[in-house]
Symmetry: C2
Subunit: 143 residues, 2 copies
DNA sequence: AGATTATAGTTGTATTATACAAGTTATTGA
DNA sequence: TCAATAACTTGTATAATACAACTATAATCT
């Protein structure tokens, strides 16, 4: 089997995802989904589960549980929506923001170690190509 | 927050993994782990669960179950090891090889679509950088 | 050789993220 | 006003995984 670029990328992506999933499993998952939800709330402000589920492309029930779990940890508050008594706003708390920020720093730290020895240009290129890949993937998902 | 390369990459990796995990969940997972196990057996030949678990960096019990599941589908055979009656060799079958190959093709196909419009050089670079990243990550894991 | 220890594998149990389906309460619109 | 719709929660199921307990065999050490 000839190892052209596509084959190389396929292989690398498979390994990449495997390692991450595996590592997360070992350390007790949650982190990633919690992180993403917190990031969403931090960046775009309070929202209800439906909007969040749309943004994150997850099932409403999944987000509902994730959000509850964050409420338990006091990382988010569940505020009733005065205009619609069916729904709520989940709002990141001070504690949640701190948690997010510290998590962010850790991630940057780890990533920085991973990228040790890379030139600035290589880093930029990697980021750019990943982004391009993601954009295409996301576009395709929404069809 | 300034968006330097590390921040960009962190963001893109998070999104990348999220989308993949999510998509797999939707379509009934298994595919990835089965694929990786089949690939391992195809590439390196028959092996017992311990060796496989080492290679794939998974718990023995996990591999044991994955292997059983592949035996049920007739993708692999479970052969007794004549030199050690405690252990077995799992060997990919003809059917398993075909399944692997067709899975591979599908993945290439999808990936090719994803990389539409990329120059050959961009593809090579992407593969190379992913590989570099993976190598570092794997090295760090084994410490 | 016999007893102890180590090894290969399987199976039981738990956890996490997820989806789908069913249910509750509130809103909207004919 | 009452039927349909919407936002959310909760019940149930699934998949990949780990850890712990167990079984059978092999290796090692008196």
């Amino acid at each position: 089997m000839k190892e052209d670029s596509v084959e190389l990328i396929e292989r690398q992506i498979t390994d990449f995802v495997r390692r991450i999933v595996m590592t997360e499993q070992r350390e007790g998952r949650m982190e990633r989904s919690a992180y993403i939800l917190l990031r969403q709330l931090y960046t775009y402000g309070p929202a209800g589960v439906k909007a969040l589920a749309n943004h994150l492309q997850l099932d409403i029930s999944t987000v509902s549980r994730q959000a509850s779990s964050l409420v338990e940890k006091n990382y988010v508050e569940k505020l009733p929506n005065p205009d619609d008594k069916r729904s709520y706003f989940y709002k990141i708390t001070e504690l949640g923001s701190e948690e997010l920020e510290s998590n962010r720093r850790e991630r940057f730290q780890r990533l920085n170690e991973m990228l040790e020895g890379w030139t600035e240009e290589e880093q930029e290129t990697f980021g750019r190509l990943l982004k391009r890949y993601n954009n295409t993937a996301n576009k395709r998902l929404n069809m």
